[in-house]
Symmetry: C2
DNA sequence: AAATGATATGTTATAACATATCATTTGGTT
DNA sequence: AACCAAATGATATGTTATAACATATCATTT
């Protein structure tokens, strides 16, 4: 069940941060939960609104941004630069480094799925770049399209 | 010479817009020129500053955005969503539709080069997407890395 | 228990990026 | 000249994000 799944992710995160000082506070847990239960990426403001609705308590924008930055450092969430919205990292393991997250974004229902593009395919992109005189870092990719559900429901 | 090259692009644009009503006004020409002479992508505010410096005349932000939107429609420029900056389209021909511009962005000197990724490679990305249940639209890609110049000058 | 230090959050202000709306001007057409 | 559409100006506002400084909270040491 979804609740348990979320709790497990939070537990994992807690373990991960059972190192010097870093705390997974109530606010951080709540915001992580908000990201996890949302079907779609949320803006910082939407997160703040959601926090308000869900917990009957308002949270300053500033704090939301700080927590999102914390999540980014800790690879708990990512920012989609094409939409200025935030998603939880889908790699709930200690091994994930998430240096170059890659997403499929549905232009209709706004869902964003984090995927892994194979080294082979990324290698192709790197080749293209090399030809043009660039050496690629790990680049976050945001690919736009339609998800199966939305393709099915097109008029 | 660069000046002539720019004039030619503007002439081409003018021809292209010799259709009902649409005008390539002085302001539009100047802003196109600013984009063309800049080595790096510019923000809307930087464009306004540049306009001021180059022509001793200030231009409202609003107008800059409007002109950028006009350029976008007309495929004369593109927006880089990862940096909120704007670049001239590098396809100076009437045939260009630029539905999915693709860029290499240098993380050091900020240059952005518009490239064409082959259908074969894009096809690979589409396959990855299909497996994950998405059908790709033409996606703008922004790949980060280092250009040859900057690789050479690394310490 | 009090002091200290580190981490987290609150508060306020402001920067940076962008759009809405309505008034006015401009330039081509009749 | 009169008209009309297109472009621009002017003003207000919305949205996204960071800076700067103060306070709270928690853990550790004294």
């Amino acid at each position: 069940m979804k609740e348990q799944w979320i709790e497990r992710i939070i537990e994992q995160a807690k373990d991960k941060y059972a190192r010097t000082g870093v705390r997974l506070t109530t606010k951080r847990k709540r915001i992580l939960k908000i990201l996890l239960v949302s079907d779609i990426p949320l803006s910082a403001y939407e997160i703040a609104d959601s926090y308000n609705n869900a917990f009957g308590e308002s949270i300053p924008e500033m704090t939301v941004y700080r927590i999102l930055n914390f999540f980014e450092q800790e690879h708990l969430s990512h920012k989609l630069s094409s939409t200025n919205k935030y998603v939880p990292c889908s790699h709930h393991s200690n091994s994930c480094t998430c240096e170059a997250p890659q997403f499929l974004i549905c232009g209709k229902c706004q869902t964003a799925e984090e995927i892994s593009i194979s080294k082979a395919v990324m290698g192709e992109l790197e080749k293209v770049a090399l030809k043009a005189g660039y050496s690629l870092d790990e680049s976050q990719l945001e690919l736009k399209g339609l998800c199966n559900k939305c393709i099915g429901s097109e008029e």
